[in-house]
């Protein structure tokens, strides 16, 4: 049950594509379901390390620790939900290739323990993201894709620079070895490597100062695709950033800088969402905000906070995917994603979907967001980080303002278009809503998993301190 299967199966599916041209969406659903089952089965045999040596410097080493297992299951789950949603529409070659390539890239990023492998999957995921952004084949989509490509190239340039520096100074590509010998190299070079890593991954994880391109890209791509981006793409890079940070024993002052950047991301994103009138853009800002929040939690390097961060990752992925898929549904029927479309459709189910999504994003009981926010605040209080707590509480008020203004759209508007959902869509959204409610009421099992993952992630970091 080697880890390569996660990479090979989707690639194989892409190569065999010509054979089943008409049933692509079926194939991708089955594929993602299979991968999801595979991920669940190998829960028992953690931690799993697989090493395939090609020739000396280049090797493919995958490592499935509990935290990467958690993320892989999340990615495969959201991928299967995404493809389930797309069953209704005709099969689309570009979509099929893009999504599976994205899945490969994202899983690779999380699994690989070799810095060069990470770069390969870095490139794969970026390319598939550019492809997916341009799905709509209109001027806006292409514009967004090109902008995304340029900035993505800029980021991979810096990433390549850091790999080159590491290789020159340490001469080895395996993360474990790098981690051991990292502090032997000269101080300035260390700082240069860390800085270039930060810039590269900062752009990809959309931290403040580096995320000005995000709203336009999200707006350019289809809502479903942006849902995929926010559920999988940014999360994986976030994990990578902090995984490397912990491995390379980043100093506390640099961690404090990261906290500051994360807080800024959170605050600025939420504030700018307040007055925007375009739903997709609002959800993009909300994703940026949540990423800032998760980064803030991870940057403290405390197990409780990391556990809360991981839980928040899962909850946010689910909620945001649901919202984006629902928005996609509306976009296909009403054509635009302006805020007033909320006043132009009449469907009790969809209203419930948006309400549940918004409430759990806000962290309002009894939905999952609350459990995440509570554990986050508990962790922060434990560390006496009162400033961060105050920031989270006040800025989530801003978040409440714009989310509820969206929801209040249901009450206005006279001639409403009745939107009927197919039973499959009802099933998907019903499952997601139920999951959010379930996680909200009984978060303990998932929290325990996150706790275990947090320990695994921070094991090395604590040992070094």
């Amino acid at each position: 049950m080697s880890l390569l299967l996660f990479i090979l199966l989707p690639l194989l599916a892409i190569f065999l594509m010509p054979f089943y041209r008409a049933y692509l969406h079926y194939v991708s659903t089955v594929l993602s379901m299979a991968l999801f089952g595979l991920a669940l089965t190998c829960k028992a045999a953690l931690p799993l390390v697989e090493r395939v040596a090609v020739d000396l410097p280049l090797a493919i080493t995958f490592e499935l620790s509990s935290v990467s297992w958690l993320l892989v299951t999340l990615f495969t789950l959201s991928m299967s939900l995404f493809s389930l949603y797309h069953l209704r529409f005709s099969s689309n070659k570009a979509l099929f290739v893009g999504t599976n390539m994205l899945l490969v890239g994202v899983i690779g990023l999380v699994l690989s323990r070799d810095i060069f492998n990470i770069y390969i999957f870095f490139e794969i995921s970026s390319i598939s993201a550019y492809l997916l952004t341009s799905l709509n084949q209109d001027a806006k989509a292409y514009g967004g894709a090109i902008r995304y490509m340029i900035i993505g190239a800029f980021a991979s340039l810096f990433f390549l620079l850091s790999i080159m520096l590491i290789y020159l100074t340490i001469g080895v590509l395996d993360l474990q070895m790098i981690a051991q010998r990292f502090n032997l190299i000269d101080e300035q070079v260390q700082y240069l490597i860390l800085l270039s890593l930060f810039i590269a991954l900062g752009i990809k994880t959309e931290l403040f100062g580096l995320n000005f391109w995000v709203p336009d890209v999200y707006q350019a791509s289809r809502s479903a695709v942006s849902g995929l981006f926010s559920a999988m793409l940014s999360k994986s890079y976030l994990f990578l950033l902090f995984h490397l940070a912990y491995l390379l024993h980043v100093s506390t002052s640099q961690m404090a800088f990261l906290t500051l950047v994360a807080a800024l991301t959170f605050a600025v994103a939420e504030f700018s969402a307040l007055k925007s009138r375009e739903t997709k853009r609002i959800f993009a800002f909300s994703t940026l905000g949540q990423i800032g929040l998760i980064a803030l939690a991870l940057s403290y390097g405390d197990t409780a906070l990391t556990e809360a961060a991981l839980f928040l990752i899962i909850v946010h992925a689910l909620a945001k995917l649901m919202l984006f898929l629902a928005l996609d549904l509306l976009e296909r029927r009403l054509g635009s994603t302006k805020s007033e479309i909320f006043a132009r459709f009449e469907s009790l189910f969809l209203m419930a979907v948006f309400t549940v999504g918004a409430l759990s994003l806000l962290g309002i009981p009894p939905f999952a967001g609350f459990a995440a926010k509570l554990s986050l605040l508990k962790g922060l209080a434990g560390l006496e980080a009162y400033g961060a707590m105050a920031l989270i509480l006040t800025v989530s008020l801003i978040e409440a303002a714009y989310l509820f203004r969206l929801l209040s759209g249901f009450r206005q508007g006279e001639q409403k278009m009745v939107v009927t959902l197919s039973p499959l869509e009802r099933l998907i959204f019903g499952v997601m809503m139920f999951a959010l409610l379930l996680l909200g009421l009984m978060p303990q099992p998932l929290l325990a998993l996150c706790q275990e993952a947090a320990q695994a992630m921070l094991g090395g970091y604590h040992a070094a301190l």
């Binding site: 580096l210 391109w213 504030f271 700018s272 409430l359 806000l362 008020l397 409440a400 509820f404």
Partner: protein, 531 residues
Amino acid sequence: MLHFEATLLGHLFFGLSLLVIVALLRKNDGLWHLLLLGSLGIIFYASSLVTLFIGWEMMGWSGYFILSKTARVSTLQRYILFNLGGAFALLGAIALLFSFMGSMMLCDIDLTLLPVWALHSVSALVLIAVFVKSGIIGAHDWVVDSYQEASPLFSAVLSAILSKAGIYLFIVLLLKQPHDERVLFELMAWLGAITSVVATFKAISQDEIKRLLAYSSIAQLGYIITALSLMQAYALEAALYHTVIHTLVKLLLFVNVAAIMAITGKERFSELGGLLYRVPLLFVLLVIGIIALAGMPLLGGFNGKFLLYTALLEEKRALLLATVMFSSASAFLYCYKLVYGIYLGQRPHDESPLHVSPKSYYIPQLLSAALLILLGFLPALPTPLFSAIGVEAGFSALEFTKPSILNSPFGSFNGAVLMSAFGVVFVLILGLLQRVHSKAKAAQNAQDISYCGEVPKAGVNLHFGYGMGHELGRIGFIAFILRRQSRRFWDYLNLIVGDLSILLRSLYALGTQHILLLSLLGFTLLLLGGL
């Protein structure tokens, strides 16, 4: 996540909310009301901080969805933002408490262990939640707007029960405080008193009925908050007693007003008037309501206030007591405006027909009127319950002799004697007046009033109802109060946040080349900084 434990206090508050919600349940919006009742149940029977918070939030947003059936968007936003603001403050307090206490269970919350700054910050945060929920003078705009725009029956629920959640929260979390760290509670006492004075004068100058009742609820809650801040057995009993009375009175008044709106379809004093002889039962019920609301000795309304006054006297807080008595005396003006505006006076000329008010409006009114009269006869009836709650919260038990004698540190009074004396004397004078041999000639019609020899023409509006609070505006001190508008402060804040967000949003509209330039600049700066 959810831990429950039945306490006497919980039973009292849940009983009240059960009474109110069941009495006001209507066919079409049953689901939301049940959800609201569920969330109230969670709050009142919560044994852990998290359960308490879950109930508090669910109450918030289930109220939001009920309100959203009738209210404008701006009111809804104001409602949810204020409520969430209070809730997030509470969440912050809970997190803080957890970090010091180590456990979430209510039973092992002991505020005396906290360091001083933590104690102040926790109580400040909880007080924010309490103040927002009960609409203290700074944060009262949402209360007034949402009562005005909610459906009449839901505004009854809002005023009778939801505003009490804050009181329950205070009793459960903050009641036991180390004696010397009471600076916050001195402020709270004065805030409650000032709220009741300002809200009373604002209530008097209102033209819409529900706005008047909203301001009156704010004023009454001001009393309860002042009572709670005294940290004394009788003051707690006063607060609880007044909570019960206020729930009954507001249930009665709001349902009465709802019946009037169902009959006439109007909700302003200037459009109403002269309904006395068309719906006499509603009038009598409203009179019972305002007697209790004004705190007159006959019905139950006086008992709560009496205990509050004696508690204040015992604590020798003379100026505070004077403010509270002043505001409860001037409360009488808006009570009379309520009765006069709707029922008495001449009916302004409009031929719109009067519909029959549904029977179901009468049941809650009769119920609460009967309870108020009973409490008038036996004022000390609920004292054992309140003293048990006091003991449970760590105060000394209250002195209780007979159900009809309500005693307090500053003297007692016998409700039964008072009421029966009123009844006997009333009958005596009625008999005297009947026996006197001068025949009483009924006035011919509405025009047959002494009007300086003139016959009032048809178009002349003889109803003075809405004019009642106008001359108050000319009195210097009161005009100063009426001019203060906290709404302007909140709108200004909203404006600033809006501008800030537009400014920040412009960051995300940069061209690609600018973004690259910025990141390069960032890289070089960090590089130079780090080397």
